[in-house]
């Protein structure tokens, strides 16, 4: 057989291998995590791990409740802040901003998305932490080192902005102008048209954006680790330190790598993280795909 055909066959086979490789990675990771966490699951039951709030590996206590609560609070607050701000920004950029301003703003959003987590963490550490310690916490009558839930939430919110904004912009752009015209011709104001027609039509995409934002927030490790305080106790106030699942892995890995049981516990944390983020992402991707199919005017 001639060389061209040969190249075609080999080339195609290589492509197939590469593709299969990519699809298997997910399962390999899952299997590895399951395998490695099995050790700790043999010594403690899953319910105890999830619901006990004492994390003291040296004494064999691997209660993750406080960390889970910390994660949920921080992620929750971060998204509570990020969603309205991102939505409003996206609406403004698409519907109200003059073309010139719009052209300038888009790149800024992209740059914001490209800033590495460490840099976010560093800036939060240098700017937010003292701010919280010296002004914000005392304003609310609390004492704080600045390394706390509040700081972590704000940092996370800022990191999530670009994701939600970009997805929303894409979705709003896809709405046919004629639909907006139809609403305007009945005498609706621009804002009413946005509220009732644009938002309604892009609702699935917005939900998908939020889900993906959740996934991102949940899995953020580095920036949170730098400002959350690293204390594995249930946080008593917004201004007390705490810990999240992802950050815990980063904090404790070095210390605990030597002891198999401890390492296994951390692997379990990684597994939980992996599964939760996966669920959020899968939901988000599914909703997004359905949304893209729907609006075929």
């Amino acid at each position: 057989m001639n060389t061209r055909k040969f190249r075609d066959v080999i080339g195609t086979k290589l492509m197939l291998i590469a593709t299969l490789f990519a699809s298997i990675i997910f399962f390999l990771i899952l299997i590895l995590l399951l395998f490695k966490s099995s050790l700790v699951l043999q010594t403690e039951s899953i319910t105890e791990i999830l619901f006990s709030s004492t994390w003291n590996p040296d004494r064999g206590q691997f209660g993750l409740a406080s960390v889970i609560i910390g994660t949920m609070i921080i992620t929750g607050i971060a998204l509570l802040i990020a969603i309205p701000i991102s939505l409003l920004s996206a609406i403004y950029i698409v519907e109200y901003a003059p073309k010139r301003i719009r052209k300038i703003i888009r790149p800024f959003i992209d740059v914001l998305a490209g800033v590495p987590s460490v840099v976010y963490g560093l800036c939060a550490f240098l700017f937010l932490v003292p701010l919280v310690k010296d002004f914000i916490a005392p304003f609310f009558g609390a004492q704080s080192t600045g390394l706390c839930i509040f700081t972590a939430s704000i940092t996370l919110a800022i990191m999530v902005f670009p994701i939600i904004i970009s997805l929303c912009i894409e979705s709003f752009d896809a709405i046919p102008i004629v639909l907006k015209e139809a609403s305007l011709s009945v005498g609706a104001t621009k804002w009413e048209t946005i509220k009732k027609v644009v938002m309604r039509a892009s609702a699935p995409s917005v939900i998908a954006a939020i889900l993906l934002g959740f996934g991102r927030a949940f899995g953020e490790t580095i920036a949170i680790n730098m400002v959350v305080g690293g204390i594995t106790r249930v946080p008593t106030s917004l201004f007390s330190p705490g810990e999240t699942l992802a950050s815990l892995i980063a904090s404790k890995y070095g210390e605990l790598m030597s002891i198999p049981l401890h390492e296994s516990a951390l692997m379990l944390v990684a597994l939980i993280l992996f599964v939760v983020v996966f669920l959020f992402n899968i939901l988000g991707v599914l909703v997004l795909r359905r949304a893209k199919k729907r609006w075929n005017y």
């Binding site: 073309k99 102008i177 015209e181 139809a182 305007l184 011709s185 009945v186 005498g187 609706a188």
Partner: protein
């Protein structure tokens, strides 16, 4: 002496640098059906959309001149008065665009915005509008279905119902039958003939025959300029301008 609901004086519309509409002086009589005819791409839709100030949502459009509606120049109106003008003018587009809601909600949309009606009044009004466009019998049992499930012809009638729900005075129709099959087109034409008793209808069409069937008054637009305008009888039987004659005979299209 006819009353003219809409008049334009020296209307010029520019899109970027192109002079899309050039010194338009026209009069549209009240409570009659005026057809705006002319070859495709000559500015008919632009003219129509200038009446309800929908043109300006595009930043690159510039308008000068006067558009008088009931004697007042609507180009003078400021931003917050514009929704009111639009309410006065109902717009039906070429391709029906039902809003992404149920049939009921589509018609209710304008009503909810402009007036506080309780549920009973709302339902009565919606039934009335759907009856006016001849859609009631076909949809009365599935008012909560998404509007996108209707056929194209039904969707167009729904858009009409949606438009008349807010009690406009003028109906601007931009080639409303071009996306429809012959039967649906006929229905729409019959509907327009009925509606012109209560509303001033401005119909953009590029089918000469349609204009002949329904128009009381005709305006001929050619490459952004008004060539001739007048009552339908005179227009078709005794055209003054050679270009009008050529168009009517089908030499230019």
């Amino acid at each position: 002496m006819e009353t003219y609901q809409i008049e334009t004086k020296n209307l010029n519309v520019y899109y970027q640098v192109h002079n899309v509409l050039n010194n338009i002086d026209i009069k549209i009589p009240a409570k009659q059906l005026t057809a705006i005819i002319g070859p495709s791409g000559c500015g008919k839709t632009t003219l129509l959309k200038s009446f309800n100030r929908l043109l300006e949502i595009n930043e690159e459009v510039k308008i000068s001149g006067q558009i008088l509606v009931d004697g007042k120049n609507i180009l003078d109106y400021k931003g917050h008065e514009i929704p009111d003008i639009r309410k006065k003018m109902g717009l039906i587009s070429q391709k029906p665009y039902p809003l992404p809601m149920s049939i009921y909600e589509n018609v209710a949309y304008g009503l909810r915005i402009h007036s506080k009606k309780n549920k009973e009044e709302l339902e009565k009004k919606i039934e009335y509008c759907l009856k006016e466009v001849g859609l009631w019998e076909e949809v009365k049992n599935r008012l909560n279905d998404p509007a996108t499930r209707l056929s194209v012809g039904q969707q167009q009638r729904l858009c009409l119902a949606r438009a008349i729900a807010v009690e406009p005075e003028v109906l601007l129709c931009d080639e409303p039958t071009s996306a429809l099959d012959p039967i649906a087109s006929q229905q729409i034409e019959k509907l327009l003939l009925k509606l012109k008793k209560d509303y001033t209808v401005v119909l953009v069409t590029h089918t000469l025959r349609q204009a002949k069937r329904v128009a009381d008054y005709v305006i001929f637009l050619y490459f952004g300029e008004v060539v001739e305008q007048g009552p339908a009888g005179e227009f078709f039987n005794n055209p003054q301008d050679p270009r009008t004659r050529a168009y009517i005979q089908g030499d230019i299209s």
